[in-house]
């Protein structure tokens, strides 16, 4: 469909988001888009085409199409992982992903720390069930974060209160306490052997060879460089954690306790959080909590929450679809992208996915925004600025499953088949857990006129004068077959993979007749092709004494020289020169090569106009976003049953609310300089005073006259600014709130569906 | 006006029953009187009430099924007694039209209707007071229902048949006064006691009533002033404005109880999860 007042060149651009829609044919739509791309390329260069999506995976339609057509400007977003990008530089796995032990080993832990993290909401399925088995096996749980969330509550965790974005201060004081209280003889807390053998940079005696700065972590903690020992009293003023809790936590990290520290990425999705991952690592190392049964420190993210380790079964990958190189090297970080469009320039820094070159300011003239597989208006910081940027360019295209925000503000909207309507290797369903793989089938005929991203790509390729085989050498049908036939499963001994599926000549004939056109060869495996297609999943059974357990860093700990980590020194770098060099070269904010405190942009201290005198500023409340059970990021937020089940309120500390005369269920206005939202208030005693929790992912519903977002889109309030790596700092923002004086909100599930009624 | 159907049903049927009480007494005390107007009015009220009750049902045309569970269900019993009462009432009306000389039968049927009617009012009150709506569970429900029956019945009877009803003015007026005293004596303390209860559902009900405080005041003002008027009237039965004052009193009592009954239904809060 097409926006009524769009015409080549943009038409009335101001009407984006509030125009009427007209239904057009696929041919017409594809012609418009092809012309728009040609126009952009010829007149402004390939880098005038922006495609804001995550990761240039080969299966993504736009990447290969646009790369084959000469390239496009890429949107880089730290997204889920925040400041954990570049963690490999100091020795963690890439993005700090994985790194903990598997679920059976976790049951051996005595203490489990949920550092941030809310698996009951953010890792739905059986992760929480599995973690509950750890609790039942006797472990004590600790939860660190600003709200005593559903998971902490389930595990009866001890709540260590830490304000959003202040984890660095908290953890520095933990290190200080460990150092102060440690006595190798009478009170052994720190595992000095571990520090000495497996880390560099902790103290002056163990500096890495490439260190340029004559400073070390331990002396920093003791206050040698800035005159401020990182005491619990110092930290408590910033992070809000009671001093005795900091001390308690430090003691709990002791080396003779089996501690597993499982972190989410919420604390790293903050401004100026570049030191946090390295610091978490340093503390785990101080307690020697790496590479041993019951000890671990690693990610607790989506499918691997509480269950790390290589997959025991995985679907066939379609790596035979080559990822074409993108000839354009313009890469803009998400918080800076809308400004880049509006102002025509941006800071080209080291990137997450391509190169580490810091190139400084560059001119850019974005003419086309091409949305695929992402709702960049709802999910990228600075929704209002994003809308402004959308209203500037010549053409906005959105491939979409539903009338989400990017579709709302687009010129041409292309309806895409959902994974239920076609047979192909659905990206999201690839990721389930290490023990379980789904093999989904089409469950309904395509509805109305939907098409796949790849079909559109092939059609556009033709119109752009390319052979569709160049961007898309493999058909969807072949990819779907490979998804099954290429599946691998761990062998009995846990040492290698073998084919999961048995394929006979007959099977291939059957597949071609009943499923889709594909080439294949007979092979031997565990389960017949037809049977797997029928059952739809494969699960590797587990038991505590099987061969499938996993202890991260086990090899490294056995033989650090033979199995070096990814850092330059091959060890955990508590001082990491290469990391500091990359970040400092980006020019956004400066860091030390070791974990150190930095004042946080839009953090707690900035909620005061004068922090020393404790005078509150214009936006005195900290706001952060949890990932919410009503939706998967922005997806599914249009489903009335789910809206009924999950009301998506804004959570406010009970005392804070009472002071403002706000009661449960009242409609409140929350605002800052970037936007205004409305939500019903849910008062809670499980949230730190001064903090507001607005669930992430709602589709903005911005009233044109008031500018109020009635849906409470998280990024309506998130500042489009970045520090350090260019982190999207969702959890460090400042707002004020009050009881709304206008009409109260009707519950979301009674709102009209977001569908188009054509004229 | 969500509860208007049941409000009309219960008030009209109770008014009809109340009228018949005084008709029956009047027939004993007055040799020839048949109180045609009152009987016909009772029929009319009963029919309006029964029709209104159908509006409440999701499936009004299947209402007959409500008779299936006399043995178990107070609601079923209520329907039974209402139906029998109405049948007797219609029979009385027919006799009055067709065979008005058969006075014995008429009087017998009238007393039969009164008995069935009184049981019916009891069934109605039991229907509500045994439900899981805490505000309905006290004796107040019974008192309110009988009070409506008697006071509306008395004034309507007087209004419609005062010319035939020699001697009845005093009886009816005293009956109204007595039942209103009972009503005040039981209902007011009930609500005072309820306010001290911890049930969230009860407090939900009280909250609704508080939000309709004006209507609640009107109910009591109307009932009390209607009562005072009827008492004052019987003192001076011959006065010129007697008829219009009586009409005023009937209006006040009817309206007071109507509003009261509406509030009764409006305050419906069932116990529930978290509302115990």
């Amino acid at each position: 469909m097409k926006r009524k007042h769009w015409e080549p060149g943009g038409g009335n651009k101001e009407l984006r988001g509030r125009d009427e829609w007209v239904r057009i044919s696929w041919d017409e739509a594809l012609d418009y888009i092809a012309d728009g791309l040609k126009d952009a390329k010829e007149n402004y260069g390939n880098n005038s085409i922006l495609a804001p999506t995550f990761f240039a995976a080969a299966s993504n339609f736009f990447h290969n199409l646009l790369s084959a057509y000469g390239g496009y400007t890429f949107l880089e977003d730290t997204g889920s992982f925040g400041s954990f990008w570049f963690a490999h530089l100091y020795g963690l796995p890439p993005k700090g992903y994985e790194g903990a032990n598997d679920r059976m080993d976790l049951r051996k832990a005595e203490t489990v720390v949920l550092y941030g993290g809310n698996p009951a909401w953010a890792s739905t399925g059986n992760r929480t069930y599995n973690m509950m088995q750890v609790k039942k096996a006797g472990a004590n749980f600790i939860y660190v974060g600003p709200e005593y969330n559903v998971s902490a509550n389930l595990f009866d965790a001890k709540w260590i209160r830490v304000r959003p974005g202040t984890d660095t201060a908290f953890l520095l004081a933990v290190v200080y306490t460990m150092l102060k209280e440690d006595d190798p003889v009478s009170n052994p807390i720190i595992d000095w052997d571990f520090l000495n053998s497996y880390t560099v940079g902790f103290d002056a005696e163990h500096m890495p060879a490439d260190a340029k700065l004559d400073e070390n972590f331990k002396d920093y903690i003791l206050g040698k460089y800035d005159g401020q020992p990182k005491t619990p009293e110092w930290a408590s003023e910033i992070c809000g954690t009671p001093v005795e809790d900091i001390v308690w936590y430090a003691r709990e990290m002791r080396k003779d306790k089996k501690v597993s520290i499982l972190h989410s990425y919420a604390p790293s999705r903050c401004n100026n959080a570049e030191s946090f991952p390295q610091l978490l690592m340093a503390i785990a190392a101080m307690g020697g909590h790496f590479g041993k049964p019951g000890h671990s420190c690693g990610g607790m993210h989506d499918q691997q929450a509480g269950n790390c380790g290589p997959p025991l079964v995985y679907a066939g990958t379609n790596y035979d679809m080559p990822e074409l190189p993108n000839p354009v090297d313009d890469i803009i970080y998400a918080p800076e992208v809308w400004d880049a469009i509006l102002e025509g320039k941006y800071n080209r820094t080291a990137t997450l996915t391509r190169d580490l070159n810091n190139e400084g300011m560059r001119d850019i003239d974005i003419r086309v925004i091409y949305h695929v597989c992402r709702d960049a208006l709802a999910a990228v910081v600075g929704t209002n600025k994003g809308i402004e940027a959308h209203r500037k360019v010549d053409l906005v295209v959105a491939h979409t499953l539903s009338l989400n925000s990017v579709a709302q503000y687009a010129d041409i909207v292309l309806p895409i088949a959902t994974q239920w309507e076609i047979q192909y290797d659905q990206g999201y369903l690839r990721q389930t857990s290490r023990e379980f793989q789904m093999f989904p089938s089409q469950i309904t005929e395509p509805l109305y006129e939907v098409q796949t991203d790849q079909w559109i790509g092939e059609e556009l390729a033709k119109r752009l004068g390319m052979d569709p085989k160049i961007p898309f050498p493999v058909s969807l049908e072949q990819r779907y077959y490979d998804f099954f036939a290429g599946a691998q499963v761990i062998n009995e001994a846990g040492t290698d993979y073998e084919n999961l599926v048995t394929v006979t000549e007959d099977d291939i004939v059957w597949w071609n007749q009943n499923v889709g056109k594909a080439e294949g060869k007979p092979q031997q495996g565990r389960i017949g092709l037809k049977q797997l297609k029928e059952v739809g999943f494969y699960q590797v059974p587990r038991s505590e004494d099987d061969n499938y357990g996993h202890i991260s860093y086990e090899e490294f700990v056995k033989d650090p020289g033979g199995n070096p980590l990814s850092s330059k020194s091959g060890k955990f770098e508590i001082y990491c020169q290469s990391y500091a060099d990359v970040i400092n070269g980006m020019g956004r904010s400066k860091i030390k090569p070791y974990p150190a405190y930095a004042r946080v942009l839009n953090g707690y201290e900035e909620s005061f106009s004068d922090f020393d005198k404790r005078i509150k500023g214009d936006y005195p409340y900290q706001i952060f976003n949890v990932h919410y059970l009503r939706r998967a990021d922005t997806a599914y937020d249009n489903i009335p049953w789910l809206k009924e089940a999950w009301t998506s309120p804004v959570f406010i500390n009970t005392q804070d609310a009472i002071e403002k005369g706000v009661k449960d269920g009242d409609t409140v206005l929350v605002w800052n300089q970037y936007g205004k939202i409305l939500r019903r208030a849910s008062l809670t005693n499980r949230l730190m005073p001064g903090c507001i929790n607005l669930p992430n992912g709602a589709w903005p519903e911005i009233e044109e006259d008031t500018g109020i977002d009635k849906a409470g889109g998280a990024n309506t309030l998130c500042a489009p600014v970045a520090t350090g790596i260019g982190v999207s700092g969702y959890n460090t923002n400042l707002v004020d709130f009050e009881k709304y004086k206008g009409d109260p909100l009707t519950p979301d599930h009674l709102w009209p569906l977001r569908v188009i009624n054509y004229l | 006006m969500e509860h208007i159907d049941l409000t009309l049903f219960s008030i009209c049927v109770q008014a009809a029953i109340g009228i018949m009480i005084f008709v029956a007494i009047g027939m004993l005390l007055n040799k020839d009187a048949l109180f045609k107007n009152s009987v016909f009015a009772a029929v009319g009220l009963g029919v309006i009430g029964m029709l209104a009750s159908l509006l409440h049902l999701g499936k009004p045309f299947s209402a007959i099924r409500a008779l299936y569970q006399f043995g178990e269900s107070w609601l079923s019993r209520e329907i039974w007694f209402t139906a029998i009462f109405m049948a007797l009432l219609v029979l009385i009306a027919l006799l009055i039209i067709l065979k008005s000389d058969n006075r014995r039968a008429i009087i017998g049927l009238a007393w039969g209707a009164v008995l069935v009617g009184l049981v019916d009012v009891f069934s109605m009150a039991a229907t509500y007071s045994t439900s899981s709506v805490p505000i309905w569970q006290g004796n107040a429900t019974f008192v309110e229902f009988y009070a409506a029956t008697i006071s509306i019945g008395a004034v309507l009877f007087l209004l419609l048949s005062f010319k035939e009803a020699v001697n009845m003015g005093r009886i009816a007026a005293l009956a109204v006064a007595a039942i209103v005293i009972v009503q005040v004596a039981i209902v007011v303390p009930y609500f005072v006691a309820v306010a001290g209860n911890s049930s969230a559902a009860l407090h939900g009900s009280l909250g609704i009533l508080a939000s309709m405080g004006l209507a609640n005041s009107l109910k009591w003002i109307a009932i009390l002033s209607g009562t005072v008027m009827v008492l004052w009237l019987v003192k001076g039965e011959q006065s010129k404005s007697f008829e219009s004052l009586l009409a005023g009193s009937a209006f006040l009592l009817f309206a007071g109880h109507l509003v009261g009954r509406y509030l009764f239904y409006a305050s419906l809060v069932v116990t529930g999860i978290g509302l115990s």
């Binding site: 009951a120 739905t124 399925g125 059986n126 929480t128 069930y129 509950m132 005593y148 559903v150 509550n153 389930l154 709540w159 209160r161 059970l629 049953w641 789910l642 809206k643 009924e644 089940a645 999950w646 009301t647 500390n653 009970t654 449960d664 269920g665 849910s682 008062l683 809670t684 005693n685 499980r686 005073p689 009674l750 | 409440h56 049902l57 999701g58 499936k59 009004p60 299947s62 209402a63 099924r65 409500a66 008779l67 299936y68 569970q69 178990e72 269900s73 609601l75 079923s76 229907t127 045994t130 439900s131 899981s132 559902a201 419906l268 069932v270 116990t271 529930g272 999860i273 978290g274 115990s276």
Partner: protein, 191 residues
Amino acid sequence: MALGFYLDMTMCIGCRACQVACKDKNNLRVGILFRNVHNYETGAYPNSKLYHYSSACYHCTDAKCVKGCPTGAMHYAKDGTVQHDDELCIGCQYCVWNCPYEAPQYIDELNIVKKCDSCKDIRDAGENPACVDACPMRCLEFGDLDELRKKHGADLVTSIPILPTSSSLKPSILIKPRSYALELDFVEKEV
């Protein structure tokens, strides 16, 4: 040996998979819930706790809805569960006022009441109720209460403070409570 639900509150995360699975099974529009998950907060900051309670029909052995129903639409099935006969129901809503647990729901479009039927059709086919199988924490079960009691130990209760005192109905329910679900300072919360 009544049939009924078992809820392990110590495992429940309030995810509402049961609630939505029930809507799916029974194809219920927004506003009608045969199973409804509630959340309550107790205690003061920073020691406040949250608990969830998933509630449907209790298939009471002395069911007030059955007793009050004027038509007999509400009735006991052979297995003792309380069932509703859509054909008999006249939509008088008396069961809605009689049930202390919000189980029967009046559905405007159908002009009758409906409620949880314990998924009798799929149970008769040898499977679990939809809500039970949807629960990712495996904390919801349906079955013979004596057996459930045997399986889940002694510290089970049949009521907690958020539930109406209605022992006279003999609700068929077993609950493994969270300790703080026995406190009286609960406040219902949206989460």
